[in-house]
Point group: C2
Chain length 398, copies 2
């Protein structure tokens, strides 16, 4: 309070991300099995590959990799990102449609700066990515939750909101292996969303960090590739395919939007880490990424299966959970009587951590939900952690 | 215009940094000697050292260096930054006083978010760092220019502003080898600024990227070390001592401020590049930085001397310039009749580039000024570039 006079109004209202607070607590205690964070497995990092790429890069192109870069990003990386998107999906974009960002988080922040202002109605899935909610709160946007069903957002809810005079500026969706729910939006619902957006003239932001971490055969194309790429802004990242510590993400959108977004980026950090951009380029260009994705999928599929099995074994029948076809998370819905915020301290005492579901809602939080991550810890710990969670839940039931 | 309806009010008003626009033009033309940008010499990068450090890092600590990190930064790097500051100057800070940022530019952006809001009176030197002006413009701050003299800001101007009811929230100063002027604020004026700030209860932001690039014997301590470290917020960076492409900067301030600043950073990019942070730590910890600084100083001193000599040789007597004791820039004041914005195209036609002085002013630009950089190009090019500039100026005189 003493220092409030020095702070901007925005700063006075800032609240810490609960996930980052939880992560801090957990990082200081080695006795807790953390199913909380959203971190990749350290075993998924191709450390030797990075070392080789880095040596070659410094030898062949060191002066450029260590110098300032343009705000839009390293040109050949932008081209490569566009090329890969076109190869994987039915899109026709070029490097000019790509802005390289300091991780996907910065992509979302810049989108907030450029496309959202105070009181704008912003559609989000309920639940949704908590750090996007933090951005929206900072802007003071008017967040509108659309509940998620097994196959994506509730079309009825969105329709009724729009028909009753709803006027969204933008819809923020994580349609594939969603964080936090693990849910994938069906192709039909994606197409319907584009229809809604076209009819009511709003933009769609598709946050797609997990797309290639797919453990089943069924693939649903990105919204961006179903749209004519004029209305959808696509956000991607190397964090889950190489390493999050390198902080390389990207936005793909129409050139007019990219130009505005790079203007928004200039004062924020001038340019994305140039060394990381060059590393990422080489990782993509040499095709190493595709071999590595195969390994990561094998690693994570086994962990997901372990978690699903353990949930089946240790959790009471009154608990429901999602069965994600990819990504990093499983979403649990507990009996109404349980408040996962209140139960959290008990979990730490027992030696297991989750993320309480309440933080993933823009407005009315469902307090009986929680998110589990299955990528970071080892398989044995998953079993042990879920067992502890099962005990805890039983203790909290009447 | 067509897309304006999708943009936030802030985005509609965004303007590109002129320096970045100029850099773009120049990067596409190999026939221009650029004395414009603010880039280090590629010869100042210890490429082999980075390669060795990077190999060791990945071998010994790869999983941590590639993972997500805390928003505040890698703990041992924070400690090391504090330790070095205490060793070099009369300060007593610890790692808790340090926030690692994605370059010094992000440090300034976060300071803007936390401490500045619309219509706040913000004191800046005239001229000052252009990208800080971009931040202040975005916030819609009420920028107040205080003219620079040979030994720093005009005490009379600042005093008269304060006595006539001026109510600054914050003063942003680059007191050592300033960008763009090359001027160093005297110790007396630094102490006077702290007095003013204490009496009128405003904060001081000291942006200090060039401190260790000193080519003369006289050293003036940072404002931060003359203050009791309660009112001054210090901004540093590894960009000029190692490499800007790694994007590692830092803020040193009282812990309460650091806590607020890390909150402001969370939604912006979660954390600074972890790999770069570990590299920077090793570079500092092993003392390589000190040897490297010696080399960089030798390299740049010779370039500065070359530029001063060439200015003496090729420029008309009616032009004045600063004699920087360190840093990267020399500031020219031309006869009033010359407008350096208007002269710029002529410079490009002649094959030399500078930055017009007008962009470095918050309010009334002095159109007859320009900035020259002497670190990026080779010595021979400095001579050639200044010669061209001399011809150009003569052509523009009556």
């Amino acid at each position: 309070m003493k220092f409030d006079k020095y702070y901007s109004k925005k700063a006075r209202n800032m609240e810490s991300s609960k996930i980052r607070e939880i992560s801090k607590i957990i990082s200081e205690r080695t006795d807790i099995i953390s199913l909380a964070g959203g971190m990749p497995s350290p075993n998924s990092f191709p450390i030797e590959v990075v070392s080789e790429l880095s040596d070659d890069l410094l030898e062949e192109n060191g002066a450029e990799a260590l110098q300032y870069g343009t705000t839009t990003g390293v040109k050949k990386l932008r081209n490569k990102i566009a090329e890969r998107l076109n190869r994987n999906f039915d899109t026709s974009v070029s490097g000019g449609n790509v802005l390289v960002t300091s991780g996907a988080q910065q992509a979302l922040y810049l989108i907030g700066k450029v496309f959202i202002q105070r009181d704008d109605q912003i559609l989000v899935e309920a639940p949704t990515y908590a750090s996007m909610l933090q951005i929206l709160k900072e802007i003071d946007a008017d967040v509108r939750d659309i509940n998620l069903k097994e196959d994506g957002y509730s079309v009825e809810e969105l329709q009724s909101y729009l028909e009753s005079g709803g006027n969204p500026g933008l819809a923020y969706f994580v349609p594939t292996f969603q964080n936090p729910s693990g849910i994938t939006t069906s192709r039909e619902k994606r197409e319907k969303l584009i229809e809604f957006a076209t009819e009511h003239d709003f933009l769609i932001v598709e946050d797609d960090p997990y797309h290639q971490l797919r453990y089943s055969e069924n693939s649903v194309p990105p919204i961006f590739s179903l749209d004519d790429q004029s209305r959808t802004i696509y956000v991607g990242t190397i964090s889950k395919l190489l390493a999050p510590g390198l902080r390389v993400g990207w936005i793909v959108a129409r050139e007019e939007f990219i130009d505005k977004l790079q203007l928004a980026k200039q004062p924020v950090d001038l340019c994305t880490n140039v060394f990381s951009q060059h590393l990422t380029y080489r990782y993509l260009e040499k095709g190493i990424v595709d071999r590595q994705i195969g390994k990561i999928i094998d690693l994570y599929r086994a962990k997901r299966d372990q978690m699903l099995e353990s949930l089946e074994e240790f959790l009471p029948n009154s608990v429901e959970w999602t069965t994600p076809e990819g990504g990093m998370f499983i979403w649990l819905t507990l009996p109404d009587i349980i408040d996962t915020d209140e139960m959290f301290q008990g979990a730490l005492d027992k030696g297991v951590a989750y993320v309480p579901g309440s933080i993933f809602y823009g407005t009315k939080p469902r307090k009986n939900t929680l998110r589990l991550n299955f990528t970071f810890v080892e398989k044995e710990q998953i079993e042990e952690g879920v067992k502890k969670l099962g005990e805890l839940i039983r203790e909290n039931l009447p």
